[in-house]
Assembly symmetry: C2
Homo-oligomer: 130 residues x 2
DNA sequence: TTAAATGCTGGAGTTAGCTCTAAGTCAAGC
DNA sequence: GCTTGACTTAGAGCTAACTCCAGCATTTAA
């Protein structure tokens, strides 16, 4: 799979795919003889994983650390687990905060609905009294 | 209330408070005769609102638009409501995505736990066989 | 077999959102 | 009155995360 196919498949710009690899967010992608990227199943898996994690707000730096640990093999299992736990906990807190804000927005929208209805009534009254 | 008190109260850096005001995220704050900021209850309310919305990921630009509409009075009620609905919907989607990622992280953490246990067993075996 | 499209790299440029600096003003304690 | 620390502004600087560009190589369609 060449880079533009991967780009389409995951809706990630080509430049971003190269950037992620350059920054070590993805283990080096397999290449053809002439040096063109040729994504394997596993390479695609990494792309998808990174897309998902970035979407949830994990930083480039954190993900680079994770991949670096991954590259060091089994002796980093515990460290990787700890990193994931820390990120999971942060994510949980962000979701919590966002849910509160969601509720607040919903409340605000309701208030606006009431105010708009009240405004319209006011307008009708004025028209009738003319 | 002066700027450093507000900064402490909401855990927002002083520079950020000034920046928000400069960018029009907060209606102009009341001043003392000599020109120092003197936050009223309402000013504080805005600060808190902006903090909450920024925390949920609403952009500076979006919030500026909202405040601009607010400044134009009642005839922008419908527009403000529509803006809030659009942001609410985006927020919902972000939360949804993040919840999927949270579940995925939890799954991954469990897998790590199993792998770590398996690794330890392996080590014990080796020690015994010595 | 040649033109057009696509790929490569290193490095510069961009954007959002702050964060800091300089140079000056104001306020509170001695 | 003077010093010290907090406040003011305009504008520069910073960081994360891309995004674009130049200049060159490779692949593909005509």
């Amino acid at each position: 799979m060449n880079i533009s196919e991967v780009s389409k498949k995951y809706s990630i710009p080509i430049d971003t795919l190269r950037y992620y690899e350059k920054e070590g967010l993805i283990p080096p992608v397999h290449r053809t003889e002439s040096g063109l990227r040729d994504y394997s199943e596993q390479d695609c898996g990494w792309v998808e994983f990174i897309k998902c994690m970035r979407g949830a707000g994990l930083s480039i730096d954190t993900l680079r650390q994770y991949i670096t640990l991954y590259g060091k093999g089994n002796r980093t299992l515990q460290k990787r687990k700890n990193l994931l736990i820390a990120e999971r906990d942060k994510l949980k807190m962000r979701i919590d905060e966002m849910q509160h804000t969601l509720a607040r927005l919903n409340g605000k929208i309701e208030t606006y609905e009431e105010r708009i209805v009240a405004c319209e009534k006011e307008l009708l009254k004025k028209r009738k009294s003319k």
